[in-house]
Amino acid sequence: MSVALNKRPFDLGKAAYLGLNLLLLAFLLVPIAIILVFALNPTPYISFPPVGITLHWFDKFFETGDFMRSLWLSLWIAACVLVLSVVIGGACALALARGHLPGQAFLTAFFMSPLMLPAILTGLALFQSYLLAGIGRPVWGLIMAHTLIAVPYVLRTTLAVLHNFDRRIEEAASVLGASPARVFFEVTLPLIQPGVFAGGVFAFIVSFDQFPVSLFLVVPKGETLPVVLFNYMKFDLDGAIAAASMVSILLALAVVLTLEKLIGLKAYVKL
């Protein structure tokens, strides 16, 4: 009797649900697998099945000055964008959620608008604005452009946390004598931290992978990795491109895992 009770009947719905998830997972991961095969294959073109395994393309990637310079520049810019977008996006979110501002819906839409415009137009518009202002195309201009695109991510994730925020905790801290600054740093910030930093991770990745906005704003010898890869692909479509892609993916993964370790992004899934 107990054996019969423990035996679960076949659940078609659950099996279909699992199958769908597996399909989605495959859809997401198969392109990465193809890139990996291309990166490890000795032939200078995509061929399947692979004819061997080599790290030659990784060597080429790490030994090519243009790739290395652009990789470090992209990392540096993405790090700056992470900090700036977290500060700006976090502050905007607090103002929008707590400030009782007139036209709050309009302001939210305004701050989210960079996501609604095609990024290539944003890049072109900024390029023209910079030239008209006579500032050329400095690195800080590129950082500002990426920040513009990245802020909405931080804004959205932080607003999500703030909507579920129990303000009585802050009130309790104030009643117990904490100054507004202490309430912010010791109560508010730790509680909204997962949303802010989840947005920060998005900001980093969006900046690191940013192509359309960068296309118009990079200068000679100051190109970011996606722009260098695009130009390389026009003339030399070999495994170095795939190796660069793998390095990019691993770096982005490393950033996410590091932030997860330091900050504990798992909390964000509770939202």
Binding site: T43, Y45, I46, S47, F127, P220, V227, N231, K234, F235
Partner: protein
């Protein structure tokens, strides 16, 4: 009182010497401030490697300037946006089709003559023909690349690409974004119709090429041929010849009997350039026989300068004689660009299925 403040001869001499010394110390900074920068566009890949390693440093040394070489596309839209009196580039290097787009907007000069660039006097006529804006410094021949190990009959005509045996294994380009694809379309008009501008015949012939594998860039077509994903496809000669020698691959190039289309590398100067003399000097330098030879043998481009003497193996294959150059067909890009939107819509509809 007055006499105490009078400047003596000795003091004057000391002050003069001090000023001279200060001037000599400051000289490098002043020279640096006066160093002109030439802003150019250029290609990447092997071409870019040779330019960065040898060609551009040589020019900088000869002219005491710095060259800022942009390899990030798209060049013409960037130039369109930049102020006319302070353009983003002094020298625009593109293929011919983009130069025609730029000249319509007044972004580049109509012609470059031997008056501004003395080496223009030595170029083949095609390099400064009425089909060219600026001056062509190199050209490639657009024809058919094919695999030699797949048992196909080597092509002789553009019509051979329509061989039913090549269904799904022939290669072409996304015509709206690639000038080789645009050249191929015009050639279809010539081969199957009344001429390069016979678009109806070209559309009909394009339909017959389906199924066809389409790529964005010539670099992709090279790899498709190398991987045998494409057995025969439209490509420029340098995209096949560069796999000669140590890189020997089972691919070859055919110059079809109806002629080859010209894929010109064109240089031009922007009218608003603040260093126009330096820009002309750069074009002259790029047309100099030693520079032409270096690049021609590095990337398998046919030099525009008639006086260039290439090594035997390059000379045998590239367009280095008046007879060979005569096989080049230059498209009328002004005509094509004027109806590009309609053509793009039509070919997209044809090739979508």
């Amino acid at each position: 009182m007055i006499s105490r403040h009078r400047v003596s001869r000795r003091t004057m001499l000391r002050a003069g010497a001090g000023l001279a010394a200060a001037a000599s110390f400051a000289a490098p900074a002043i020279l640096h401030a006066e160093t002109k920068t030439l802003k150019i566009t250029t290609w990447g890949g092997k071409w870019g490697d040779i330019m960065k390693a040898t060609v551009l440093p040589g020019f900088e040394k000869e002219h005491g300037c710095t060259v800022s070489a942009d390899q990030a596309f798209p060049y013409v839209p960037k130039l369109q946006v930049s102020p006319r009196n302070d353009p983003l580039y002094d020298v625009l290097h593109t293929n011919s089709n983009e130069q025609w787009l730029a000249v319509v907007d007044g972004l580049v000069m109509d012609k470059i003559t031997a008056k501004e660039v003395p080496n223009v006097a030595d170029v083949y006529p095609y390099a400064v023909s009425d089909k060219i804006v600026g001056v062509s410094i190199f050209t490639s021949a657009i024809g058919l690349g094919y695999r030699t190990d797949k048992g196909i009959t080597p092509p002789k005509s553009w019509k051979d690409l329509a061989d039913p045996k090549l269904a799904g294994a022939r290669g072409g380009y996304l015509i709206p974004v690639n000038s080789l694809g645009q050249c191929h379309l015009m050639m279809l008009g010539k081969v199957y119709g009344k001429g390069l501008q016979d678009l109806d015949a070209a559309y009909k012939a394009l339909e017959q090429l389906k199924p066809i594998k389409l790529v964005d860039f010539t670099g992709q077509m090279e790899k498709m041929l190398l991987s045998a994903e494409v057995v025969e496809g439209v490509i420029h000669d340098s995209g096949v010849y560069r796999y000669e020698g140590a890189n020997r691959q089972p691919v070859d190039f055919c110059s079809p009997s109806e002629g080859v289309m010209a894929l010109e590398q064109v240089l031009n100067v922007t009218p608003g350039s603040k260093v126009k003399e330096l820009a002309f000097a750069y074009i002259d330098y790029m047309l100099r026989p030693d520079v032409q030879k270096l690049l021609a043998e590095g990337v398998w481009y046919s030099p525009a300068n008639k006086k260039v003497k290439l090594e035997e193996k390059y000379d045998a294959k590239l367009l280095t004689t008046p007879q060979k150059v005569a096989t080049l067909i230059q498209p009328d890009w002004k005509w094509y660009n004027a109806r590009k939107d309609d053509i793009d819509a039509r070919v997209t509809k044809i090739l979508k299925g």
